[in-house]
Symmetry: C2
Subunit: 146 residues, 2 copies
């Protein structure tokens, strides 16, 4: 039997969250956190609505997952996020010791790789899943803004 | 007339917050954010109590200040924090475009300088204010934990 729970499957869920952000006038980044094929947190960027630079999708997903799990370490968890995390989010993910991060589009200027941030040595990193869809949503957003 | 509102004055307030964290069994880091000699946010590390790796003193102070100011950019604000910010907090401070950061003790291993994080080019950085007092509180905490 084919496994439906692929990286693409969960990235689609993150992309749905990003679309909600888009519709709300937020930079369209969405995230889900998954344990054993179960989504335990869904979130999207809320920096405008909350007037808070810390309200990135990943930050909310980390807090929600820790709350769900009853512990602050996200061992065994996978984050799916439509955009490469920034250094703040990479730093939070570092502290969480999350097992795996999967992101869609790269962020050449503000992504953690360009900014010099570090992930935890225990964290596996996968990039480029549904990259075009994730990047297109960002481009559409900034095109409308202009 | 002597100006009582020195960096030491506000670092003492941050240190008082760190002492509250200490008494609660939290890694003793405290912070205040100041605008025109007025403290608009006070916070201390709450990662254990909240079971949340994102609950560093700086993160809470950023969110509280943005809430107080009614906008997410902390222009004209100074953060006083007893320990060098980590890459997560440096990343949040980057997004906030805060005008000045003053920290007490250095964090050789997990500070943003060792981890490779970046501050905003508009942000002035001052370090070593009340360094001994800030570092001693940390050392006392980890000595007790052992």
């Amino acid at each position: 039997m084919e496994n439906i729970f692929t990286d693409e499957y969960f990235m689609k869920k993150a992309l749905q969250e990003a679309e909600v952000a888009f519709d709300r006038g937020e930079i369209p980044v969405g995230a889900v956190i998954v344990v054993e094929n179960r989504i335990i947190a869904r979130s999207h960027n809320l920096t405008e609505m909350l007037n808070d630079v810390t309200a990135h999708a990943e930050m909310q997903a980390i807090t929600a997952s820790a709350n769900f799990l009853g512990g602050k370490y996200l061992k065994g968890c996978t984050l799916y996020v439509t955009l490469e995390p920034c250094q703040m989010c990479a730093g939070a993910l570092y502290w969480s010791q999350i097992s795996k991060i999967v992101y869609g589009a790269s962020d050449e200027h503000r992504g953690f790789r360009a900014m010099g941030g570090k992930l935890h040595p225990k964290t596996e990193l996968v990039s480029g899943i549904m990259e075009n869809e994730c990047a297109t949503l960002m481009k559409d957003f900034f095109r409308r803004k202009r």
